[in-house]
Point group: C2
Chain length 124, copies 2
DNA sequence: CTCAAGCCTGCACAGATATGCACGTGTGTT
DNA sequence: AACACACGTGCATATCTGTGCAGGCTTGAG
């Protein structure tokens, strides 16, 4: 139960039980950091639109993503580059067209959460 | 099926069906923006730790959050201020102690997704 | 009243980020 | 060969964001 690291053991807690419970909830700090990076990928409206489109429309070309989202193609390329570097998406070259698809299942799960909260707002 | 807004109808798509499908997946742009802001709250390791602690340990004091996460109390206050402004958390004052609790169910769901992916890494 | 604990705020600074522009590369067409 | 299309890259810029420091406010204890 004494989960407080000795580094900061000198601070005496208000509710020790709650503190240990909280530390349990946090878990491995490196895992937290990894998830924070994943969330950061979804934290931009443009990238989130791209990921939603990729999640729904499967393999899709860059220019079609630009057409669907309204983002300039250079910005789409930039965003896809970031997503590619992070391992979130995968590029499949087909002639002069490059089709992208979602690669990370964790991100797909997060997008599913988004989908369950009303994909289109009720027209009322 | 012609979901492409007239603003950018002059661009002719590579796969029109795919484009319309993607636009369906994106849905309301304002909803996307709202979710991007939610994701931004989880995009910082410190805030994510705080939210995990709040989600697990229920109402918890600020200094206990600082103790559990290892973040300086002023930074915790700053983060909680942002989370409060965004409606993610709620503050309940109790004497000179302020206990925070998670308020947004959408964020709780996202944290649940995090929990299902191995809360504590297997010890070898 | 005096003091400490718990918490909040304003300010300044360093770091990260998204965007647009111009340009380069490779592919298919005429 | 010449051209247009689809896509990627580098650079410069404006903006945002997280952090630490100093100080203030309220509450409870001595």
């Amino acid at each position: 139960m004494h989960l407080v690291p000795p580094e900061r053991a000198h601070q005496h807690p208000i509710d020790e039980h709650t503190v240990c419970h909280a530390i349990e909830g946090i878990g491995d700090p490196e895992r937290v950091r990894a998830w924070a990076e994943r969330f950061a990928l979804l934290a931009d409206p443009g990238r989130l639109s791209l990921l939603l489109a990729l999640h729904r429309a499967g393999p899709i070309a860059v220019s079609d993503l630009a057409l669907a989202t309204g983002i300039r193609d250079t910005a789409v390329s930039q965003a896809l580059r970031l997503l590619r570097t992070s391992g979130a998406v995968q590029a499949d070259k087909d002639g002069r067209v490059v089709r992208y698809r979602l690669r990370a299942p964790e991100i797909a799960e997060l997008l599913e959460v988004l989908a369950t909260h009303g994909s289109t707002p009720s027209p009322g």
